[in-house]
Assembly symmetry: C2
């Protein structure tokens, strides 16, 4: 099929391709999880699979940035997402600190299930492959601190950018714009230039946010063992796909 010619169509297509790729990657990750084989070979294979998934995310972000240069604002309020999904966005994507929160949730779940098994006599006191070690906890904790600081910095930049709309030149151009009664306000060269300038700043902030998302993901999987990283990527993809599909159903229900 030829790719759509409009910018909006290409953006929508880019997101759909990404969701389809995530579905495909999820199947592959789930399959890898069931392989019984142990030892060095499996470790290497899993690490390769994890790296491939991170690369896919990076390629998606690059393609998105390329398209954003033509028309950036839809990425901050995408019509192709369910409203639930869109309401959870931070700078056109998920909060990087969400990855870390997910690791903690998975870890808590693992400990809970191990305690249960231990109390039921099904397990010795050894920790499973999925439990984070004390050293890993401390590294994740340190990464969380750094990530939240970076998030706050970018949130502040976005606040400045949003506030600038009510300042020179845009607010003044709007104030001085006149129109024929009953007609809408036309953009003029001045307004277009100011909005183009604003768009360029939005692209920069999108790039910075994507960079933070990717770097946080990379740092996180490098702290985790391949088996843990696999479990984390599966949970992350399932969460994203579920929120996307649950959100669509809720939107449909409300017309």
């Amino acid at each position: 099929m030829a790719s759509p010619s409009s910018h909006r169509g290409q953006q929508h297509c880019c997101f759909n391709d990404w969701m389809n790729l995530q579905e495909h990657d999820l199947s592959e990750l789930l399959q890898a999880q069931t392989v019984e084989e142990n030892g060095g070979d499996k470790e290497v294979q899993l690490r390769r699979l994890v790296d491939k998934n991170v690369e896919h995310f990076q390629a998606y972000a690059q393609e998105r940035t390329r398209l954003a240069r033509d028309h950036v604002s839809p990425f901050f309020a995408p019509s192709w997402c369910s409203s639930l999904e869109s309401s959870l966005l931070w700078l056109a994507g998920c909060r990087p600190s969400l990855f870390i929160r997910l690791i903690y949730a998975l870890s808590g779940l693992e400990i809970e299930s191990q305690i249960k098994e231990f109390l039921e006599g099904l397990r010795s006191s050894d920790l499973s492959d999925l439990s984070l070690s004390a050293r890993q906890f401390s590294m994740v904790n340190e990464l969380q601190g750094r990530t939240i600081k970076e998030e706050e910095k970018l949130s502040e930049e976005m606040a400045c950018l949003q506030e600038k709309i009510a300042d020179q030149p845009i607010a003044v151009i709007a104030k001085e714009t006149t129109r024929v009664l009953g007609q809408s306000f036309e953009t003029n060269e001045q307004a277009d230039e100011a909005l183009d300038d604003h768009s360029r700043s939005m692209v920069s902030i999108l790039e910075a946010a994507d960079k933070l998302r990717i770097n946080t993901l990379k740092a996180l999987v490098s702290i985790l063992s391949p088996v843990q990283a696999l479990d984390f990527l599966i949970a992350g993809k399932k969460l994203h796909i579920c929120i996307h599909q649950w959100g669509n159903k809720r939107d449909q229900k409300h017309g």
Copy 2:
């Protein structure tokens, strides 16, 4: 015309009604600005007009909250706004600090034009009705500090709410959800309950953000003289209507 039966239709209608009311209010404000009459009577009339505009904003916020109780997430990513407008949203509306930034922009513009007129010999050194006094500047400045602090508090609450998606119970329900190959993930009772709970928190944050927007607006117009408040409301409404219409045109251009 009968009001639409779907929640989405009612939400869209609520926004359209608000934009139409703003158009009507803008005309009335512009007309009031041209009235030559001076003195106490005009002051009282203008103050009444300003208060009416603030009440309209408050009524819109109340109606929105009522509709949000049925389905909240579309208000955070509204399909009825242009993508430019949506990309500028902070908690489903404009940042309250934007009102203050606009006051500063208008004040700067006024001073600039007075200096120009003074240098051209068209004006004595007296300040016009629209210039902020030193006392007003200090009050606006103090309001800005308070508003930004409140904004930061609400932004943090929103961040917590967004991060909680990757925690118990939602992330765990998603992780444990299975599906028939090729089908989408169905919501179950557990997921629905968790998402309903999340929605209730989103309604609370929407209400808190609207309260801050309204309180900031009220505090601001109470600092301004009726003539200044009129000028500010005109500039604010023109800015909103322009961004809405310019954004629609830019979306159309990009397909």
